[in-house]
Subunit: 200 residues, 2 copies
């Protein structure tokens, strides 16, 4: 199998069931996500439509789809690509929690910023592990992103050592943002530490 | 160009911009549709979440995605495939109008049934035109669906003459259903006639 055919040690959907079915599954899951939000029990309809708008922007051309387009179009800005490809959905999930929890507009914006920076931390660690992780830990061959010429953060952060430093700096950015949230960010600080320290 | 590369006389998106971009555009438009519904002005949030649920079911595994899966999996039931691939979205659009217009549950169900039967009429006419229309009228080479071994209604309705009869019967089914709707279906009857008589 090609490197692209494994995720967490298991064959990808497009390998196991074929390209057409994999694309259909993605389409189905997108619609299903909106259906689940639209029919969520015990959440006011006014909040449900806000959640749907947040998810639509994160998943759509403003977010994930736009980032994927930048990626395949060969854009140079690694941060921009990943803010949209992966950061937008992570920021949206944090923002959604704030909305459901009844946070005011200022707090919702702060949660969203935290989520976006957390997404970038996640991506930096992902790129670091792609260089230094073992195949067994990663569930896919290490170095596969670099070998596929994906635009990783290693190249733009002075190699592995530079990237390690950037990860630590970004962890601190996230921890400071968490402390600025209501209730000192609750459990979010430990999520930052978890993501910064993960080895798979 | 291959037959599959033209729609209404113009190159398809996947031909003009490539497969990856075409898939991304589809993903983007799906999310955008939900965003538009979630933020629709002058519609109560309670109605907006109902519209989103209706669209999600019509587009998702319960509807279009499920129909496409049946199609590529080689299912035999032409009506089932098209009810889900194209009928579900048409039924949903009629149902959505009924919901926004404040119809009660019984009327919403009647509008939905009408929309579903209208979708089947549309598909029957599509299959008929694929056999008897000219390339110029269709914007794609006639017979292309049959040549691509798509499961068309011609084969299951005793050829072109049998299919013409079926189209007329289905037109009458739709007209009767329209007359059973509030206000005798308003302009929906003329939409039935338009679809039954279209030649492109």
């Amino acid at each position: 199998m090609d490197d692209d055919d494994l995720r967490r040690g298991r064959p990808t959907t497009h390998k196991a069931y074929g390209e057409a079915t994999a694309i259909l599954v993605g389409d189905a899951l997108q619609g299903e996500a909106f259906r689940v939000l639209a029919t969520a029990p015990d959440i006011d309809a006014e909040l449900r439509v806000r959640l749907i708008e947040v998810l639509a922007r994160a998943a759509g051309w403003q977010g994930m789809v736009g980032g994927q387009h930048l990626d395949i179009a060969g854009a140079d800005d690694v941060r921009e690509i990943h803010d949209r490809k992966t950061g937008a959905l992570l920021a949206a999930s944090v923002e959604a929690g704030a909305i459901v929890g009844g946070a005011d507009a200022t707090a919702v914006a702060a949660f969203r910023t935290f989520g976006s920076e957390l997404g970038w931390l996640f991506q930096l660690v992902d790129d670091l592990l792609d260089e230094v992780g073992t195949d067994e830990e990663l569930g896919k061959p290490s170095g596969s992103d670099r070998r596929h010429d994906k635009r990783t953060a290693v190249a733009t952060h002075g190699g592995v050592d530079g990237l390690r430093t950037t990860v630590e700096e970004q962890r601190d950015v996230c921890l400071r943002l968490a402390l600025g949230l209501p209730n000192d960010g609750g459990a979010l600080g430990s999520i930052v530490e978890y993501i910064a320290a993960r080895d798979r």
